[in-house]
Symmetry: C2
Subunit: 297 residues, 2 copies
């Protein structure tokens, strides 16, 4: 069976052509789906069937381009559906990108977030020309039990053994901050990161917040727990980092590691490949790390 895209519109056109040739058939509302293929909607339904709660009434987990009726030729999971990731998807003939973060540079992916945004338009045109569907899998991946992103990070950092319940706050055997930094750089393939603290300080009570949870949630975890190290993706600089700076100046031995947003959650989108494979065995699923755009100088 070909893995070329076969879309609902194509099917309807075929049906209409058949009708014009005298074979009158009322087009079905469901397109014809080859036995070992699935539509985008069917893949999403398979994923959402795993939700412990109900789907959200409002969510950013929507299609950003393409169609739910498109037959899926292959899936790419990634943090950001960057132009580079899209080009790699085209090369591998995968037409469905599942991205954790926005495609058009703002949380709700509004195309008119900034007027006359030529870059967003070019990107959309690239996706449409190549019939790539992009779905954001953010809220629902975090809602899974365990949180898919956190689980991926715990596996890749080899911290899952210390935290089998996949809690945001957990305990590891005491280690120097400097050793933890090196461990995270090695395991998460991070060339550079920022931190606050004394590299020789022993840490064992960790609050782990991949991504951008915001200072309120981050600081609340520090206030309520016996946390001595918070590890985040990113944080507004005037929130958690300033709290940490003052806490340390007041004699509280608490440290912070800022991994970078993309690096911090990428393992969760890698883990999604394993999570998906036995649910949709017929469709090739591959992870492409979008990485972060920064050079450090």
């Amino acid at each position: 069976m070909s893995r070329q895209p076969y879309k609902r519109r194509d099917f309807l056109e075929d049906v209409v052509k058949a009708g014009a040739a005298g074979m009158l058939v009322w087009p079905s509302l469901t397109p014809f789906i080859p036995k070992d293929q699935m539509t985008v909607n069917q893949v999403i339904a398979k994923i959402l069937a795993e939700l412990p709660g109900k789907p959200l009434p409002e969510t950013v987990d929507t299609l950003k381009t393409g169609s739910g009726d498109q037959l899926v030729t292959g899936i790419i999971t990634t943090m950001f559906a960057t132009v580079d990731v899209i080009r790699q998807a085209i090369k591998t003939k995968a037409n469905f990108i599942i991205a954790h973060e926005p495609t058009f540079y703002n949380h709700p992916d509004k195309l008119d977030w900034v007027e006359n945004n030529g870059v967003a338009k070019e990107k959309k045109a690239l996706l449409e020309k190549n019939q790539i569907t992009v779905w954001r899998f953010h809220d629902y991946w975090h809602m899974m039990k365990p949180d898919g992103i956190l689980q991926g990070v715990l596996i890749q950092t080899e911290w899952l053994a210390y935290n089998p319940q996949s809690n945001a706050v957990f305990q590891i055997p005491p280690q120097k901050l400097g050793e933890i930094i090196q461990h995270l750089k090695d395991k998460l393939h991070i060339p550079h990161l920022r931190y606050i603290g004394d590299p020789s300080a022993l840490c064992q009570h960790i609050a782990l917040f991949p991504g951008a949870h915001g200072g309120e949630k981050q600081v609340a975890s520090l206030v309520s727990g016996q946390v001595d190290l918070i590890v985040v993706g990113e944080s507004p600089e005037w929130e958690t980092p300033e709290y940490i700076r003052d806490a340390r100046a007041l004699g509280h031995p608490v440290s912070m590691i800022i991994l970078g947003h993309s690096y911090s959650e990428e393992p969760g989108m890698g883990y999604l490949v394993d999570w998906l494979r036995n649910k949709i065995p017929a469709i090739p699923v591959k992870h492409i790390a979008s990485g972060e755009p920064f050079s450090w100088g």
Copy 2:
């Protein structure tokens, strides 16, 4: 004349004591102000008299601790009234800190932003014990003509000559991105920064946004102008940096430099010292750079 703090409450107590001794005087609503001294409120009024428009009905530029009636012994300007800056203020016997950014780790400086925040409580106690008044000077400093922060940065980067109108978007003589990075590191005393772009690319149309203006404003400047380099304090990583990454992948030669929030605006709080001196010549005014809390590893 002593520069020890003399507060409205002390004055009223003196008046009440005098009354108890038989010298009945109705306490004035205005405290006695020695000739060469000013209260916090008087300093703020001097500053706000320079506003080109009306004071804002809602603003974060409020007193965070202390009293508007306190006699000012000395002023410290800074980006963040950190515990360390407060201790330095105490040492120099200055009792009025003018800070550009929040004191209690959230934009409106809500003390109950996070419940049971012991660090915020300890910091507040430190300020109260030492009778230090903190005023945030954020919205109004940006509202001045020219914007006080931008003006300070333009002076310190020696870019004011190319941009005498203090616009956010302006032109410099063509320079390699790598040279501009080095220039900014040298002039703003920044040990490390992040950037996106090719160090050998020539840049000349700059959008300069010290602080955290948010991706919408930053990206709008890139879309509307002929900008080839945006310089910011910080940005949510999924907004401007991802826009820049995609723009570059689509062939648009645009670069980005992320200075760090505190470093990027500190020159504006340094410039405030010069701006204030001839308005309040009798009061000592000093700038303390709060710097950023990060180590880079």
